[in-house]
Each structure stands twice: as C-alpha cells, then as structure tokens.
Amino acid sequence: MKNKLSLFVIAIFLSFCFVIFYKGLNTPNNYTPKVSEKKNIPNFKAKDFDSNNFINSDKIFEENTFYIVNIWASWCVPCRAEHPLLMQLSNNQSIQLIGLNYRDNFNNAQKFINEFGNPYSRILIDKDGTLGIEFGAYGVPETFLIDKNKNIIKKYVGPINQEIMNEIKLIIK
C-alpha cells in the first residue's frame, strides 16, 4: 500500500514536470507584444517637426476622430515599404496620421518626406526614443490605431501591409 502510494506520488510529480517542460518547449521565449489590449494614450510633450515648438499630447489628439500614430525613421528600410500605404490612408477623411520620427537625423528625415511624400498631419520628433517607450513601442516601424475615445485599440508591429490596411479601414468606417 505504502509502495503504491509512493509510486503514485512520483508518477504525479513526473507528469507535472513533463507538462511544465512540454509547455515551456512550445512557448517562444522571445517577446511577443500584446496587440489587442486597450490602453489610454500617454500624456507627453513632444517637439513638432515643422515648427520645432513643444506641443502637448492633448493638443495633438484634440479632434473627435480616429488617429494613427506611426513610428518611422529615414534609416528604417521597412518604413519605405509601408509608406505608399500610409499615403493612401492619408486620403481618408475619417482618420488623421501622426508620425513619430524615431531616433533620426532631421535632414535625413526631411529628405525622406520630400522624396516619398508626407502622409502625416503632424510629425513629432522622438530624438532619444523615449516617446516610443511611452507608447509601449519596441522598434520601428510600429503603428498604433487610436479610437475617438483616445484609446489605443490596435498595435501593429512591423510594416503595414494591405491586410492591415483593410482591417484599419473596416474599423474606421
């Protein structure tokens, strides 16, 4: 009876270890961001790309419309790939695009905009990347969709593609 009980306890323990390790093997150990969690937009003060003046986040998101915050940089190759789609989206009247120029050289960023066009109603300068951190970003490009209640409702890591565009258009319709 005692031996049976010991065997049972050992079997339970080994099964438990097996389940833990099996789950561990199947779970990626790199960071996978939560993309559908609703969050409020952070309060921040940022430098405007055109006027070079500091502007408060309340002033940036003051209109009752959807917003896209797109983190980009002139040195970022995937940003070039998504740019035509952002240009296309900027024609939509129900959304405003805010660009966050991430750790970039001002002249290079200006050249980028001159060459590929400006889809943004406002560009903010994020010289040291701290503004991106306030948004919970971890790289570039990254895009946040903000609803009329000023909540971040979607986060797209990496360049925007046609599928994402269709999803955004469906949400803001």
Binding site: N29, N30, Y31, P33, K34, R103, D128, G129, T130, G132, I133, E134, F135, G136, Y138, G139, V140
Partner: protein, 122 residues
C-alpha cells in the same frame, strides 16, 4: 589662514558628499537596468545591450529617476507599457505563484521525507 583652511575643508566635504550621492544614483540606475530585459535581444539585459530599444530604456530610466521615481515605481511604469516580461524578477501573481511556491513545496516535501527516514532509523 585659518579661515582659508576651514573653507577648503568645507569645500572638500560638500564636494565629496555630492560625489557620493551621484555614485549612489548611478548604482541604483545600474541595478534597475540590470533587472530590465531587452525585449529585442535574446538573453540580454538592457544594461548589457547596445540596441536602440535598450538605449531608449536607459534614457527613460534616467529621466524617471531624475523625476524622483523610486525603483518600484519605474518597474511599475515599464510593466504597464510592456507587461511582466520586461522585468527579470517576476512579481508574485496568479501566473507566477507556481514559480515562487514550487521550490518551497519541494523543500518541505524533501525535508519531510528526510525527517521521516531519520525517525524510522531511530
């Protein structure tokens, strides 16, 4: 001459105090950075990493400590932005209670077996 000496002593004392305060602040920042995971590099802390993400986190930790936030408040800020994964030292919550309690349970279980064996030998 005496007054000059007093001034020199006072100058040295105040400066060393400042230096010590800076050192303490740097030590705290380093401690925090070593406990933050670099999310885009594998197995590296923000302290060890040279990536853009790590560099931005270093800036933000610097900014927050200068604003007067303590260690736990900075972790709380980062958890809010990125979740528990960003901190190396996990908090006790419903996702981590096995992690925290299992070693203790195993220790108690092992201790009970040894205690029982020793008692039986007597």
């Amino acid at each position: 001459m005496k007054i000059l000496r007093i001034f020199i002593v006072l100058f040295m004392v105040t400066n060393f105090t400042e230096l010590r305060s800076d050192e303490t602040n740097d030590a705290l920042k380093n401690k925090i950075l070593k406990n933050i995971r670099c999310l885009i590099c594998q197995g590296q802390s923000v302290y060890d990493s040279e990536s853009d993400f790590a560099s931005s986190i270093k800036f933000i930790v610097d900014k927050k400590t200068n604003e007067g936030l303590n260690e736990e408040q900075i972790y709380q800020f980062l958890r809010k932005k990125y979740g528990d994964w960003i901190i190396y030292d996990p908090q006790l919550n419903k996702n981590t209670y096995i992690l925290w309690l299992l070693p203790l349970l195993l220790f108690l279980f092992g201790g009970a077996i040894i205690f029982k064996k020793l008692n039986n030998q007597k």
